[in-house]
Amino acid sequence: MTRAADTSPATLRVLRYDARRRAVTIVVGDRTIAVPRRALARLARDAMQRDSFICHAARSAADVLGDEVCFVPQGGRCEIVAIQTNGWRRHHGDHRRGLVEILSDIAAAVARSSLRFLDDDELAAELERGDEILACSVDDSASLARARSAVAMGLERHGVDPDSRHTMQLCVSEATTNMLMHGGGSGTMQLRLLDDRLRAVVADRGPGLDFLNWVGPPHGPAQASMGYGYKIILDNLEQVLLHTGSEGTTLVLDRTFTTGD
């Protein structure tokens, strides 16, 4: 692993172009930074007219946002997903995933609506939905197994099919492990039942999502996850909602289910 001399982590930024308001807002990342809103709006409108997502490799007006910037049309708005690598690069032979691959996964998930970034109001509305089945705190690695066990028992009690139970256990494990390693070391997990789906809400008060874990050198077992935790989550769930900022990160994991064995 090689990288530039500074010690800044690589970071993710997400902005949103609202066609009706003709405005660009920052959804994920430092909301105080100056961004070229007019240029971004023009690029977003271009992607919306083509109705396909477009990735730029740091050669346009969007450069200030990051090394890789994707414009993903979604109905009346366009999500703008950017990674600033801050000099981190993968060297030959490193088996962890490249930043471009991770960004592509995120952009593709946004494009197929399986990943949605939430602003503060949207998060508040989502947290009101459904009925709570259980809630627990996760504050050390031993509590990961307890959280998984609680998920299994809670879902079995509600007659949820074994496949959905196992999938939710796996995805909750990935989300809570990420929370322990990168989300300030503790947080909460809540399981909710909506009309047509299961919902796990994993929330921390950590420093917000960054990509340090995916580009840093390996320093122990957690660093060996190779950045696949989010891929496992995105591959196995119908929808993932993400709210992240300096006040913490909340992941909402949704999966439809059947009842019975």
Partner: protein
């Protein structure tokens, strides 16, 4: 919780049962490291593993590659379907080679 049982021999076998996650990763790493000392090859039997996530799988890949660089091969057998699904998502066969999987 992860349980391990080692069958010593020219090609030692590490029988795993239970769950491999962040909490049990260090046990997993230690058992593999101790078992492979002095051996050219070791088998990990996953038959009793009920759960693995990306931190456990990532560690497995790193152990396989690091030991290979030191001249020792880890072979994996009896991988149950839920574990195989995680391996497939993380492209384990591409990373450590199909020859690492044995019957």
């Amino acid at each position: 919780m992860l349980h391990t049982k080692v069958e010593p021999g020219e090609v030692p076998v590490i029988n795993l049962s239970g769950e491999i996650d962040l909490d049990s990763a260090e046990t997993f790493r230690w058992v593999v490291g101790e078992t492979v000392k002095g051996a050219r090859e070791a088998i990990i039997d996953f038959a009793g593993v009920t759960f693995i996530d990306s931190s456990g799988t990532g560690l497995l890949v790193r152990l396989c590659l690091d030991l290979r660089a030191q001249g020792a091969e880890l072979r994996l057998r009896n991988v149950p379907p839920p574990v195989a699904d995680v391996f497939a998502t993380m492209k384990v066969k591409e990373l450590i080679g199909e020859q690492a999987f044995v019957d």
